[in-house]
């Protein structure tokens, strides 16, 4: 049953250069009414990008702003909110202290928004509209999320999420981190080669297909639209290459102060326009895109949408994209597609049949599915210890929509699909919270059973029933031959972890397919 969230909700976005909040409410038809907004500049970015951590002065400042947010939330009777921090806090060495200080001073829980999660939210928010207007299915697109502190580029091939790259490039970071103290003349000369370099390496490692569609999001990109025309469109703007070049040269000719005055921009946007244009120019060069698509959407819109979706209990329809990017990674490591598909099939079937005993959420099911796809990727390196190789590969790959913890869990699931179960001597495992450790044990146990069921790599079984009594899990399968010896043996060797985790022996019962 779909729950409609009518109460006021809030999002707080702790960025590298500003903290923004929006309080809004949605009506039954899903249209949004903004109740109030807050925006305050802050120097987290310059702290982190030059010193590695947030200084105590900035921390005090941020805590004050966030407690103002909390005061406003009280005034509007908000209890449901999301507070996220992006690049600066994400990279800060003292992020835990920062998050705790905020919690203590304003009782607001700030969560780090991983680039992949951020991209996932953006993709979900713009997908339908772009699909409708430009046919995402027909293109190889990139979505480029240009922030003040970092930039993510997601590669979407034929409407499917393939890869995501995070660049340590931000419209303001560039100036703060790299070019502090050099003359503006030299700055201008240095920007282009610097950006060319990072863009090329991002594209090279991400995709072999020619990109023909360029989607850019971010406040600075939206500012380009307001320079382009007096009344920007409401949902999606487009800008031809020629228009872009015209605006770029306008931006280069004017000082930031003139830009502020002429186009009613904020100072930080005006300063960031030139680096932003350089980046877009480089991406243009490397792609065959003829225009830029600029969705008029910001992080707060996306997060508000996410709160509403979460409350509705509906799946977010992003699983598909995540599975596709897992497959993309697995392909890169020459995986056995049929085996992975079979394991995935068995694993999810068991997962669904055993809900009562594992009591795990939908996200865990997805992690199981992803692990089923990726568990053997380590074989690319070597058959021996391949579970450990799979672990490195997964921990170092990008899958959109996963938080850092979730990615760790996924990598551990791959690692524990065979051989040693989790031990306290495994630091990657002990680094997880208790709940997540239990989650790893439960999911990995199921994965092992599923893997055993495709011991032959021929996907010849079909699970028809899984039932438990007080001591045993009985898995009823049908097969085209009556010989399930290999699978039975497989279960025998791979069910220890399941037994230890759930306290049940595992027995395979075969029936001839009728």
């Amino acid at each position: 049953m779909k729950n409609i969230l009518l109460e006021p909700i809030a999002v707080i976005d702790v960025g590298s250069h500003s903290i923004k909040m929006e309080i809004a409410q949605f009506d039954a038809k899903g249209s949004k009414e903004v109740l109030t907004r807050l925006e305050h500049s802050i120097f987290l970015g310059s702290d982190v990008f030059t010193k590695g951590k947030i200084t105590s002065k900035s921390m005090r400042h941020a805590c004050k702003i966030i407690s103002d947010c909390a005061a406003l939330m009280k005034e509007y009777g908000v209890s449901r909110y999301k507070a996220v921090a992006t690049s600066a806090v994400r990279e800060a060495l003292n992020q835990d202290i920062f998050i705790n200080r905020v919690k203590v001073t304003s009782d607001i829980d700030v969560k780090i928004l991983e680039p992949t999660e951020e991209m996932k939210l953006i993709f979900l928010a713009v997908k339908d509209a772009i699909e409708k207007r430009f046919g995402l299915q027909k293109h190889n697109a990139v979505i480029c999320n240009i922030g003040t502190g970092s930039t993510q580029i997601a590669f979407i091939e034929k409407g499917v999420f393939r890869n995501i790259q995070t660049l340590k490039f931000g419209t303001l970071r560039l100036i703060e981190e790299i070019f502090t103290g050099i003359s503006s003349r030299r700055l201008k000369d240095s920007i282009a080669p610097f950006i060319e370099n990072i863009v090329e390496s991002a594209f090279n490692s991400a995709s072999e297909n020619m990109t023909d569609m360029l989607i850019v999001v971010g406040a600075t990109a939206r500012a380009l639209v307001s320079i382009q025309r007096d009344k920007p469109p409401k949902h999606i703007a487009t800008m031809s290459r020629k228009d872009f070049e015209r605006i770029f040269s306008k931006v280069t000719e004017m000082t930031p102060a003139q830009l502020v005055e002429r186009f009613h921009l904020s100072d930080s946007i005006a300063i960031g326009l030139e680096p932003c244009c350089h980046l877009i120019e480089q991406i243009f060069k490397i792609t065959s895109a003829k225009s830029i698509v600029i969705p008029i959407i910001n992080t707060r819109d996306v997060l508000l949408r996410d709160i509403v979706l979460e409350a509705s209990g509906e799946p977010d329809r992003f699983d598909e994209a995540m599975i596709s990017s897992a497959e993309f990674i697995a392909e890169k490591y020459n995986y056995d597609k049929e085996h992975s598909t079979a394991v995935s099939e068995y694993a999810t079937t068991l997962f669904d049949m055993l809900k009562d005993i594992h009591n795990l959420d939908q996200k865990s099911r997805l992690l199981l599915q992803l692990a089923a796809i990726l568990h053997d990727t380590g074989q690319f390196i070597s058959q021996a210890q391949h579970h450990k190789h799979s672990y490195y590969i997964v921990i170092n790959s990008f899958i959109p929509g996963l938080s850092q913890t979730e990615q760790k869990i996924l990598a551990l699931l791959c690692r524990y699909h065979r051989k040693s179960p989790p031990k306290t001597s495994h630091p990657e495992y002990t680094g997880l919270s208790t709940a997540d450790r239990v989650r790893v044990c439960k999911i990995a146990s199921i994965l092992r059973i599923a893997d055993a069921l495709d011991r032959t790599h021929q996907s010849r079984l079909k699970i028809v029933k899984a039932e438990t009594d007080s001591t045993t899990l009985n898995i009823h399968v049908v097969t085209d031959s009556d010989d399930i010896t290999i699978e039975t043996w497989g279960i025998k060797t791979k069910s220890d972890m399941f037994s230890d985790t759930f306290g049940l022996d595992v027995k395979l019962i075969g029936d001839l397919e009728i």
Binding site: L6, E7, V34, L35, R37, L72, K74, Y76
Partner: protein
């Protein structure tokens, strides 16, 4: 840059306004007590003029400024013009007071008796009063080498005395006429039920002056009044606590430079010269008056001598037909979307009622309000206090620096803080002048917001005297903008973008310029543009230039400017400037732009003055509600047609009354009747009034 002859000097423009106030006192068709009231208003206006405006020009001159103002006058020239114009006005005022108003009042209400003309019985009565009430509070201050020259308080009436003691015959002293005492002392023995008799406090003290100086011989004594530079100037950059700083600067005020000396004609020249030298008075700063000093004190007498036959009959403050006692103000706003109140024709009570309802309503979560000038025992403050006590989130943004009201402001601000409200004392460098109220209320688990925005202050007393327009609204865009504005004023947020409002100092000036330019751009001979702007003062140079340019483009411009108008309408231009001075103080700011048939109406807290556009937080908000627009159309039309209380500023910079016609109206009276008819008939406003688009030529 426009030629200088398009401009009128600002200070002289303000004196012109005072001249129009004086005209009201001179108008025999105005009831006698009201005329006396205009005399008093004239005086208090002129005091403020010297304390602030003339003081400012003096500061400029002292700091060596020689650059001319837009009208081409240097500070020195301006001061000379001020002296000439102000002396003329003061002379007119005292001639009127002495020859007309006081003699007529003697026949009908009260008389002021010189002390020398008292009967023996009356003198006995007065001596008794002096001994018991006056003498104990008098403090003579001697001036001699062992006592430094004392600080003479701003605008208080003082007595300078020269005296001798034994062989020493060059002694001086001061006696301040205490402000705590009544200025007019009723002489019971000479009063009749019809005609009261009074003596002036200073006359009484002068009569008994020898009682203050034992063993001395009084050689001479005379009355004077000193006006000082009171333009408060606070270094806000370094102000850690604005509240403390204002308290401090109030004390410092007493030591500011003297600007004007008023003496009674015939004062002893030597003593006067001595005083001028001792007080470092600039030349040409002495004003001789032929009558009592400080006629603004007549307010005190007027409040004692209520004579209905000598005053304007009171006008009712009508309720709004869109509000009723059966439902809450919230419900009424929800029903109508926008409800406007035209004060003082319509009552201010609904604003107080809304606040009171909000204070007790369990669903109200937050109340935010700006407060600039509120009355002493303000029901607004009481309601906010109550709301804070009921655990609502109450945020009050207090402007402490409302001129000359600072002391009063500090008092109630502290009171609010104690009740738990979040009180914010202004923003460094910017005076908060916008008038806004935002209420956040939970209804069926959702948030509904309500605003009240006005051209006038949240002051229940002045809402009975000043013409202002306030609107209640639940328009979401307007509410979001006002919420953002509060977030800026509370320091929570930086400016983002407005959805429908404009504010100073961010974008208001630019907005006005853009609106005027658009009107010029859209103007064609077939369809000339049209601007109607009503404000208190028009001073800002670039706006004036844009108006003149727009008039060259064929735009018809009607300006209704009550006070200073620095725009001198070029001969034959389409600029028509009217000033209205009547029983109510014109205070609303209305800006109308025809926009080629898609008219836009705005209300604002801001005048077209530099201080409003650059140095204050001001608000301009659109009015889309058709009913309110109709009412605005009607009131503007009345004002443009007012040939009785309206004067027209002509190209020679003189204000003249136009020849009354058969259908001439007094705009305030017509407006009063309009709002009366709304109640009586409960009908929609007649469209036949509405002639605003399609300009009616002035005959």
């Amino acid at each position: 840059m426009m030629p200088q002859d398009s401009f009128i000097n600002r200070e002289l423009g303000l004196l012109d306004f005072n001249s129009r106030v004086l005209e009201e006192a001179e108008d025999p068709s105005v009831p006698l007590i009201e005329r006396l009231k205009f005399i008093a208003i004239f005086s208090s206006n002129l005091d403020e003029f010297f304390m602030v405006r003339a003081a400012g020009v003096n500061q400029q001159k002292d700091s060596g400024v020689t650059a001319p103002d837009p009208s081409g006058l240097t500070p020195a020239q301006i001061l000379a013009e001020i002296q000439k114009k102000a002396s003329g006005l003061v002379k007119r005022q005292y001639v009127l007071l002495r020859n007309k108003i006081l003699p007529e009042l003697e026949k009908k209400a009260f008389r002021i008796i010189p002390f020398s003309q008292l009967t023996p019985d009356a003198e006995k009565e007065m001596e008794k009063y002096f001994k018991s009430q006056v003498y104990p509070v008098l403090t003579p201050v001697a001036v001699d080498p062992s006592h430094p020259f004392p600080i003479i308080n701003n605008c208080s009436i003082e007595i300078a005395v020269s005296l001798s003691k034994g062989e020493d015959d060059n002694l001086h002293a001061f006696v301040e006429v205490p402000e705590v005492l009544q200025r007019f002392i009723k002489v019971k023995t000479l009063s009749t039920p019809q005609i009261s008799a009074y003596v002036l406090l200073e006359d009484m003290i002068l009569a008994y002056i020898d009682k203050l100086f034992v063993n001395c011989k009084i050689q001479n004594a005379f009355l004077f009044r000193m006006t000082r530079d009171m333009d408060i100037d606070i270094d806000q950059e370094g102000a850690a606590d604005l509240l403390l700083q204002i308290e401090e600067s109030l004390r410092k005020r007493e030591r500011r430079l003297p600007i004007r000396l008023e003496v009674i004609s015939g004062t002893h020249p030597a003593l006067r010269k001595w005083l001028e030298e001792k007080t470092l008075l600039r030349p040409n700063s002495v004003y001789e008056v032929d009558g009592p000093l400080d006629p603004s004190a007549f307010f005190e007498l007027i409040s004692k001598e209520q004579r209905t036959e000598l005053t304007e009959p009171p006008w009712e403050h009508f309720p709004s037909p869109l509000l009723n006692d059966q439902e809450t103000v919230f419900d009424s706003i929800k029903k109508h979307g926008t409800i406007s109140l035209f004060h003082p024709f319509q009552s201010f009570d609904p604003v107080v009622r809304l606040l009171r309802e909000a204070a007790e309503d369990p669903d109200v979560l937050a109340i935010k309000q700006t407060l600039y000038r509120v009355s002493g025992d303000s029901p607004v403050i009481d309601a906010l206090q109550r709301a804070a006590e009921n655990k609502k989130q109450v945020t009050v943004i207090v402007e402490l620096k409302a001129r000359f009201d600072e002391e009063k402001n500090i008092e109630w601000a502290r009171k609010l803080e104690e009740s738990g409200a979040h009180v914010i004392y202004g923003i460094a460098g910017l005076k908060i002048h916008c008038k806004a109220l935002l209420i956040v209320r939970r209804e069926d688990n959702r948030i509904q917001r309500y605003v009240h925005l006005s051209t006038g202050n949240y002051n229940d007393k002045t809402a009975r005297l000043y013409t202002d327009i306030g609107i209640f609204s639940n328009n979401p865009d307007l509410c979001t903008d006002i919420a953002s504005l509060f977030n800026i004023m509370t320091g929570y947020s930086e400016y983002q973008n407005w959805l429908c409002i404009a504010t100073a100092p961010i974008d208001l000036h630019q907005k006005f310029v853009e609106l005027i330019r658009r009107e010029a751009r859209l103007s064609s001979p077939q369809r000339p543009g049209r601007i109607i702007a009503k404000m208190n003062s028009l001073v800002e140079t670039t706006v004036i230039e844009e108006l003149i340019k727009a008039s060259h483009a064929g735009v018809h411009i009607d300006l209704i400017v009550r006070g200073i108008c620095c725009l001198k309408p070029p001969r034959g231009s389409g600029i028509n400037i009217i000033s209205i001075v009547d029983r109510y103080l014109e205070h609303s700011r209305i800006y109308y732009f025809e926009n080629a048939g898609n008219p836009e109406y705005f209300l604002s807290s801001a005048d077209w003055m530099p201080r409003n556009l650059y140095r204050r937080i001001e608000l301009l908000f659109p009015v889309d509600d058709p009913t309110t627009r109709d009412l605005i159309d009607n009131t503007l039309r009345f004002q443009l047609d007012d040939r009785i209380k309206g004067r027209r500023l002509e190209h020679d910079a003189k204000y003249r009354r136009r020849k009354p016609q058969k259908n001439s109206v007094k705009s305030q009276l017509a407006t009063q009747q309009l709002f009366k008819s709304l109640i009586a008939t409960d009908k929609k406003i007649s469209k036949s009034f509405t002639v605003i688009s399609g300009r009616k030529e002035d005959g």
